[in-house]
Symmetry: C2
Subunit: 208 residues, 2 copies
DNA sequence: CGTCTAACGGGTCTGAAGTTTCGTTAATGG
DNA sequence: CCATTAACGAAACTTCAGACCCGTTAGACG
């Protein structure tokens, strides 16, 4: 037997998958309720009705478990809406993010995920991948705006989408400011205006 | 004797103050090196050459210590620069933030502070206070821009300053994107353009 | 349907985080 | 300079997260 093989890779079907799902859901609940601090794997095992040995063997640490949870979350994507204008699309995105972060459960979960990522490189990589996928999902609306001539040629779609989210996460994590629909609309508007002005043109400084 | 009195409040001079400083510096080092996870008070006590009993008695938990550290950091403010134009001032601010977050020591420290704040309400409040002070320090440059007519009357100075920092923190914590001078300049430019367009006018939606 | 063994799970052990105790040191006020 | 006691610190104690052992369960493959 070749050791160094991660458990769960040889027989990924049936029970193994079931255990993984149960543990990930339990981890989600625990992170939501307890936050990242004061979280132990034994508690998660109890919630998942699974032996704690299993959790320790397969994930080892809390950050490792969070990294796996992020990968699992990345696999389920939510589709975007299309409104026909850049501002409309960005506003839809901003409100989706705002609603997610405002929701008591989801907001707490995302806080915990981000906190976990600050301490561990692998978890950080998983977080980056998760957001990269989300950003990719929304990027087409900027490309369409470029086709319509709403934003300059060469505008980086990813940067525009990220610019919409940034102020909302800043409120959530750092300033503690109100995270209402007005904040979402402002974030979208600011990003749209900056994009139109060519701030997000790849590689270049300002055009005029 | 009235119990319920926090230790260090009756005789705050001499030794008590010396111990506090030593512990806060040690906590800073530990947070920088180890991150928020895997940080224990006994280690901090060792670094500070102080009995661990003292650390547990005065601060109790890691988050409590971080909250005190934030209050200490808030007391030492760095003065802003003035360039005469809104974009110039915002760019100076953005570059200052960018340099701070890029610095290996400071960047790690801020990550740890923010992570700690996600899990504890008191620490979060301390973090909000810290950033509120920083924002207040820079707000006048927006007010001056309003006097010059660069931005509409009623523009919220705080929101503009926060809009500059937001994308930089988003890179640091969430997307993992490059945090170079170009990113800083873009953040400043986007905020300046949005401010000029009236996005940050208090209470109102878009003007035109 | 039966064999093989990957993966799970209960029980036990251990080391370190955190608490309590009590003696020691040094601010504070007169 | 002395008395008072707040605050510190060393060491013993407690608790529990996380590691380990080994028997049990159930996928994979013929």
């Amino acid at each position: 037997m070749a050791d160094g093989v991660e458990p769960g890779t040889v027989r990924p079907g049936g029970r193994t998958a079931r255990v993984r799902q149960a543990v990930l859901r339990a981890a989600e609940d625990a992170l939501t309720e307890q936050g990242f601090t004061g979280l132990d794997l034994a508690d998660i095992a109890r919630r998942a009705a699974v032996g704690k040995t299993t959790v320790y063997r397969r994930w080892g640490t809390v950050t490792g478990l969070v990294a796996d949870l992020l990968q699992d979350m990345a696999e389920q994507s939510a589709p975007r809406t299309e409104t026909g204008s850049l501002l409309g699309d960005l506003t839809a995105n901003a409100r989706l993010v705002q609603r997610t972060l405002t929701d008591p459960r989801q907001g707490a979960l995302f806080k915990a995920l981000i906190a976990a990522a600050t301490g561990d490189a692998k978890t950080a990589a998983a977080l980056h991948r998760f957001y990269d996928i989300r950003v990719r999902e929304w990027a087409p609306c900027v490309r369409q705006a470029a086709d319509r001539g709403e934003v300059p040629e060469g505008t980086d779609p990813h940067d525009v989408i990220r610019a919409v989210s940034a102020p909302l996460y800043y409120h959530l994590l750092i300033s503690g400011g109100r995270l209402d629909e007005t904040a979402a609309d402002r974030a979208a508007e600011a990003a749209a205006i900056a994009a139109r002005a060519g701030v997000f043109v790849r590689g270049g400084g300002k055009p005029a």
